[in-house]
Symmetry: D2
Subunit: 362 residues, 4 copies
């Protein structure tokens, strides 16, 4: 609700793109987790702009400070608070935009809702807000690691270029091997070429992020309102610029026959398994124990180095054109954001599963 994600594990983010600081309060972390702060910093570094020539060069050091919730390296059950300073925020760059609504940004809708707008960048709607989510997601990832769950995301498409990725094997190393974060080398090169081309034109391009969670215990998620796929969809569509979500066979399932789509069941290696995984690891809102596989569509970045028709705050016609360098494609940086939301949802569901039975199986 509002700025809070999750039911049992609750991440409340704060901070605007050009305010003094951003951060997150993560409440509900169980006590006793030995937290690897370098791991948190590493995850934050991955969402940072300026990591390669393909992304925006704004320098965000994003060294997180832990304000609470740790004692002798372990979580205590108290809320963890992470703080990241906005060191190089330069709102003067936005002066030109104080009286105009940028097309396909939240400027206009923010004004409609609140009657007031912090015109220094995107405010809460900025991708910068996800700093807090990624820090919280890093904690969730470490919780999940303790039960053998790994989450890996990758760039699955940029514009018309689709990657071929084996979700059952892809690793973070594969993903980080190329600045596009696409683990299919040929597609990665084509994507990089595409991104450079659109940048040269002052344009931008959208893309798709794929992600998988492996090692997920069965029975996570709820059968009605908090179906696991519903929680995942809500989490992913809360990411800036996301426009679509699918799980398992997703939109392709709509084209299929039941006889093709159904996943036959069998006993394999002593466990109930499915022969195929069109379900994407979730049936009736609850995890099956198979890999959870999903995809998230992102629209092209709205900030263009091109003249665009719009209106000013008085409703008069205006033209906006971004100066400086801007991110031509958000999807490489969206990978850690998708992973963070994925981990937060799974960790939340893992906690929720403890409430499902009178005698909880350990």
């Amino acid at each position: 609700m509002g700025s809070t994600f999750g039911r049992h594990l609750r991440a409340t983010t704060f901070g605007e793109s050009h305010g003094p600081a951003l951060g997150v309060v993560l409440d509900g972390v169980p006590a006793g987790l030995l937290l690897d702060l370098d791991g948190v910093a590493a995850d934050l570094a991955r969402r940072r702009p300026g990591q390669s020539s393909l992304t925006t060069p704004r320098d965000e050091a994003d060294r997180p400070e832990v304000l609470s919730g740790l004692f002798e390296g372990r979580t205590t059950g108290a809320p963890l608070a992470f703080l990241v300073r906005n060191e190089d925020a330069d709102p003067s760059a936005y002066e030109a935009l104080r009286d105009v609504y940028r097309p396909s940004h939240a400027d206009w809708t923010t004004t409609l809702r609140y009657g007031i707008r912090d015109w220094r960048g995107g405010g809460r709607a900025s991708a910068r807000e996800t700093v807090g989510r990624v820090a919280a997601g890093a904690v969730a990832r470490q919780l999940l690691a303790g039960i053998g769950v790994t989450v890996v995301g990758w760039v699955d498409a940029v514009g018309d270029i689709d990657a071929t990725v084996d979700s059952s094997r892809v690793t973070r190393a594969d993903v980080e091997a190329h600045p596009t974060r696409c683990p299919d080398p040929a597609a990665a090169e084509a994507m990089a070429t595409c991104i450079r081309a659109v940048r040269a034109e002052g344009d931008t391009v959208g893309g798709i992020v794929g992600a998988v969670a492996r090692g997920v215990p069965g029975g996570l998620g709820e059968p009605v309102a908090d179906k696991l796929e519903a929680a995942l969809a809500g989490a992913m569509l809360s990411l800036p610029a996301s426009r679509g979500f699918e799980i398992g066979s997703g939109f392709r399932a709509a084209r299929m026959r039941g006889s093709v789509h159904n996943d036959a069941m069998e006993l394999r290696d002593g466990r109930v398994r499915t022969r195929t995984n069109h379900a994407g690891g979730v049936l009736g809102g609850m995890s099956t124990g198979e890999d959870i596989v999903l995809r998230v569509a992102f629209k092209p970045v709205a900030t263009l180095r091109r003249a665009q028709d719009t209106v000013d705050v008085r409703g008069a016609p205006a033209v906006v054109e971004a100066r400086g360098r801007h991110d031509p494609c958000v999807v490489p940086r969206a990978v850690p954001m998708v992973e963070a939301m994925f981990a937060l949802v799974l960790a939340d569901a893992w906690l929720g599963a403890r409430l499902a039975r009178v005698a909880w199986p350990t």
Copy 2:
């Protein structure tokens, strides 16, 4: 959470497919709404099976009883409770399934989670659970009607057959004109043929439901965790058999350039408008005032009149084959479910917008 949808307008459903009754408690309905109970019954009738030769013939009268929250025809601010009896529930038909897990159903995941399973039908995972949602959604729809918002859903695809629908004009009458609930007559006929063919083969087929909300005020939704598109995605993915969600240009946005996707702004008829609506009526989590347009993908029905490999509750190989008549395609009946969730989310967001400013504009 659990069985509750919404933040301000909270719909808590109860009931299993073969228990004594189903229903919903809808809390947070503002006082003073003159409720049209015939309208509620009409919405329920649309989700009922057996409406045409294309759907399952199980006879669910679904006459809802209002147990509370009304006085002299108006809502009082107290929770509205709706009750629908399961009059013809015949669990004996499920006896054969008590020891076996049906592929691509929630039988196995329910057992994983709860250690116990009501084998009489799908339990909570049954589409029958949506009776309560549709009743609640009918109330939400009437709330929205008071501020000029209308929600219309339709069948946009069945298998490989896509419809062509103008979301800015389509009406419920257009949709109800054909048993497929597809307002494109040529596509509707092709879909009907397809559905009859898959049924004849004992098979099933998936599809896509499209929906639009027109007349939505600007500024509904929140910029971070409860983005309007996130709430919609979560609501839609909580529907049985749904596998994907997209808003506005959705997955197609991933293929587009920013210069094509961005919606230029202008003053039109005295209001700030966009020339195109790739955003689907939502920017940065908040409504723009343009039509909200979305699509939901549904997988093919999992119950087949064909032999399928599976395991029994002891893990031994087994074969299941449904007897009797079953729904070969869920999407015509999914239309009122999508509309109900759409209306619930919008009414919730409409209430939430009242909290956004110190002085709330009336």
Copy 3:
């Protein structure tokens, strides 16, 4: 929130004093509990009016119907819904009150809030609403019984008459031995005499309910916002006519020195125990493992068989005087209500404790 109690175990009540029915949806009950429905009915019978000459004779049979959530006698993890019909509701008795606000009732505040008022009795503010809470509380009590927790409430004071009760030993049988539900026989007789006297005068009298939970595991409750005593206080003050709450030494603690109030610790029978229990079983929001002891103050019933000055709905001076027989003292019937809320809070906290550690101790 609204009509919902609890975080993990969520009881949503519905129904007005003179509507068609009342009930509750209890969501979050763990699967596998063998539910004793006779026990639920017995708890409901205890809150019913007309149990003795000391209470109001309105006949409420209150046979609860279970609508969902049970399978072969056990909970399934699905929401439990209980329904009780209002069989003898006779709103015509309230016709005289449709245009007047009764002093010290919720008539006026309901109108202020909702702009509309169901004048047939107290609506949601009626003690009748607690039917749903008592049914839910009975389930919570059965959950707690499985871990050795018992909850006992009693009448601790009526007007100026105080009982002497040993909270460490009092049983339900002791409490039920007298129609006042006071387990101190001498005080009970004096209370009965007092109640008969106030009734004869057309007057009413207040009182205090005491309650104890024994066998509570240590560590239930949270250290900040959901302190166990905070949850208990909120639950008790949500009961109709309640005006005060105290835990352990309560208001007397304000008069004490730390050297007297502090509970020295020792190892006893292999467990860390306190020598005294001024804390009332809770320190810093979390249970100590000692008995949890609390008291709830109830004001005198507001309905009097005496003329009272008030105003009508137009603001003109008016006089109200109740006809028929009314309850002269609510506290005997408040005992099962206090127990129900106590059990709901403890069961909720018991579930919450499962989330407190990475490895949850079984």
Copy 4:
């Protein structure tokens, strides 16, 4: 839930007594409030220790930093984050306590719950945690000031010394006139003498805080689960060391006859008013428009400069005796904490009232 207070206006606190920092994220503040940061700092200064010879001399500067949510002095609808550094935290003073449980502190219960304990002071259970609440409460107070609501708290009793205070007239200036924060000068002097005496003995003493809200609109609060008195009781019992709560005539109501307790209604100055206010401004969970009057009981401070029997972490007998200077009486400093929680609850209810009607009256 957890570390979050409120439904619509949600204050999430973080920080331990001896961690790097404390603070709060306040989400749900409506946009457009011109925030007086000096006022926030002033409220924080009032809860600080070391304000007089009667309280503990620990030096907490408590200059709050605003991290987010403000733009040009006004709230934007984004979460407000306040940060206070723990500048002089000296955990070494607690070394002696790392292996021992202090009686009547949360040391033991924290260990029971979390299996791990930050032994540097009280951790989350410390009164230091209320820094965040007081900052959030200061914002709530400013929101309420805009609609004419004022909240004033005072010390109503210390040990056996009771003050006589006219809740309808008492001002903050009256309260601040004496270091005890008791506005009855004679009682204040007696309290100061008592506090000095208990300190001299190495002992501590409890007390009662009274508080009033004036100018509250009618109809705030809900009739069932979120009754205004329930929300207030929960908020007050979440304060460290609180043991009891009463509203209006409170526990005295239990001694009264209905004919004495009922508040007759009349039209006065064009408004429906009550002649008396035994209700304390709340009927059936909703505000009447009369003053809301409540009292909160606090136990004596648990830290004594006296030897106390306890056990160490291995269960062996031990003796603890505090060194240095400690607060002999918490109630003067509890006044701003009670006011903060009062203001948070009222501001939350004020927002909630906007959702109660289809057409919300402005």
